[in-house]
């Protein structure tokens, strides 16, 4: 039993703040003491009124929309220092190369594979109109990717669409295109001022990076480069100098985004006498460049076995 004379502020405060709710015996004790002491009852009432008034006064703050500058701090938290590998691994796109014969075969294929991608980029860019922003006003524009035949020789490379918001461009559409047996992923970006560009990405088989090469065709600037397991090009109607700078930024963003193939479809390269385990796409280039088409074909067939165990969505615009 608490004596009213020894009832102190803290007991009253604890009662007013609901701190005694977990201790019914103590709560009843304090309440009984308060009941016998008018002064304590008045203080308790004051404390309760304070708490109610404070909560009411500050309640509006919770419902207020969070200012943009605060949202931006959290939204951009991983932007300045991006990790090169496995960042946002789950999002994004899977580029698939089907059939060993159609791969861009590194050194020996050099100029011709570059030319092939540039030609295809130009063709696709002109085909679909050069203004991605305008063409996506209707949602029906989304091209449905053809279902992929998960044949024996597919290898997938997973990447996230590069974030180019720092350049003022937002991704407006992802498409999967096919050129022969190869798959090209096309990403359309648009800026608020109506300018835009398309980024084309194709798998390739060489680890050696190459410089950005640009050219102009009928008012369309094309820029090509390759990095790790991907060959890329952009097509845009922006001036050539601007396009080149853009290509550099895109390339940088992609270096930050590209991930290794998911473990489930990591190809098994045992026929090439290389360590079978822990080999990721980024480290496969040397092996691939040395191998002949025949031996790669063999290894591709083995890789397919593990793919069936964990099929991925074929092409992943979305």
């Amino acid at each position: 039993m608490t004596d009213p004379d020894t009832l102190d502020d803290l007991d009253l405060l604890a009662l007013a703040d609901g701190r005694l709710d977990d201790d019914p015996a103590r709560k009843a004790d304090v309440e009984a003491a308060v009941a016998r002491c008018p002064g304590a009852a008045a203080r308790l009432a004051d404390y309760r009124a304070q708490t109610a008034a404070l909560r009411a006064a500050y309640a509006g703050k919770l419902a207020e929309p969070v200012p943009e500058r605060l949202q931006a701090v959290v939204r951009d938290m991983d932007r300045p220092r991006s990790r090169p590998v496995m960042r946002r691994a789950a999002a994004g796109i899977v580029a698939v190369a089907a059939g060993v014969g159609g791969w861009f075969l590194g050194q020996e294929g050099g100029d011709s594979s570059r030319q092939a991608l540039l030609d295809e980029s130009y063709r696709q860019f002109v085909l679909r109109g050069s203004d991605p922003a305008a063409s996506t006003t209707g949602t029906a524009r989304q091209v449905v990717a053809p279902g992929l035949d998960w044949g024996a020789e597919d290898v997938a490379i997973r990447l996230s669409a590069p974030d180019l918001s720092s350049e003022g461009f937002a991704l407006v559409e992802k498409r999967a295109l096919r050129e022969g047996d190869d798959q090209i992923v096309a990403l359309d970006y648009a800026a608020e001022d109506g300018t835009g560009f398309s980024l084309f990405i194709a798998p390739r088989w060489e680890n050696r990076p190459g410089p950005i090469v640009d050219e102009e065709r009928d008012g369309v600037t094309l820029a090509y480069w390759h990095d790790g397991p991907l060959a890329s090009s952009i097509a845009t109607r922006l001036p050539q100098e601007q396009a080149r700078r853009l290509a550099e930024r895109v390339r940088k963003a992609m270096q930050d985004e590209t991930t290794a193939p998911p473990a489930a479809i990591e190809p098994d390269f045992r026929p090439l006498d290389t360590p079978p385990a822990g080999v990721l796409a980024d480290t496969l280039g040397d092996t691939g460049a040395r191998g002949t088409a025949e031996s790669l074909g063999d290894s591709g067939a083995r890789g397919a076995g593990s793919m069936e165990a964990a099929p991925l969505p074929a092409v992943a615009p979305e």
């Binding site: 404390y47 304070q50 404070l54 703050k61 938290m77």
Partner: protein, 167 residues
């Protein structure tokens, strides 16, 4: 990564409310929240050791508040006329006659007492959690609470309904 983002973003409204109780000024409060978020994001690999994210953020915000440079605090007091909050219209003619409301009374308290009251009465933390968020023993928290609440009794007229909401 996305999950951490979401967890932190979810706490922003509460951080703004706590910051407002500490700084007394909405613009300064958001400055304080921004500094806190930036710091929290830099140090996000540490928070799991500290139990709840919310408690960790409250604690960080208070530390940032205490460490604010005099320049920033001065800036906080110099409110641009355009940014100054509009005077809040009293809800009734009688309410306008009140000299003090609870917010004015709070703002007259020392910061350490304001923080203790804000965390327990407004943010709803337990005494143990509030003590941890202020990095003080729970006994110290109790005495700050006791002194602050007693002072509020002297300055806040509980016979009248609350006059306004803080914007």
């Amino acid at each position: 990564m996305q999950e951490t983002k979401w967890l932190i973003a979810r706490e922003i409204p509460r951080l703004r409310r706590y910051a407002l109780a500490l700084t007394r000024d909405p613009a300064a409060a958001d400055d304080l929240v921004q500094d806190t978020l930036e710091r929290a994001i830099r140090k996000r690999h540490l928070w799991k050791r500290h139990g709840s994210l919310r408690g960790w953020l409250y604690r960080m915000l208070y530390n940032v508040f205490l460490n604010q440079t005099p320049r920033r605090q001065r800036r906080a007091r110099e409110i641009d006329l355009d940014d100054a909050p509009e005077p809040v219209a009293p809800e009734s003619p009688e309410a306008g006659l009140l000299q003090r409301d609870i917010v004015t009374a709070m703002q007259a308290l020392p910061a350490e007492q304001r923080a203790a009251i804000a965390l327990t009465a407004v943010e709803g933390l337990s005494y143990d959690e509030a003590a941890a968020a202020l990095d003080i023993p729970v006994g110290t928290l109790r005495s700050r609470l006791s002194r602050g609440r007693e002072r509020l009794r002297e300055t806040f007229d509980t016979s009248e309904p609350p006059v306004r909401q803080v914007k």
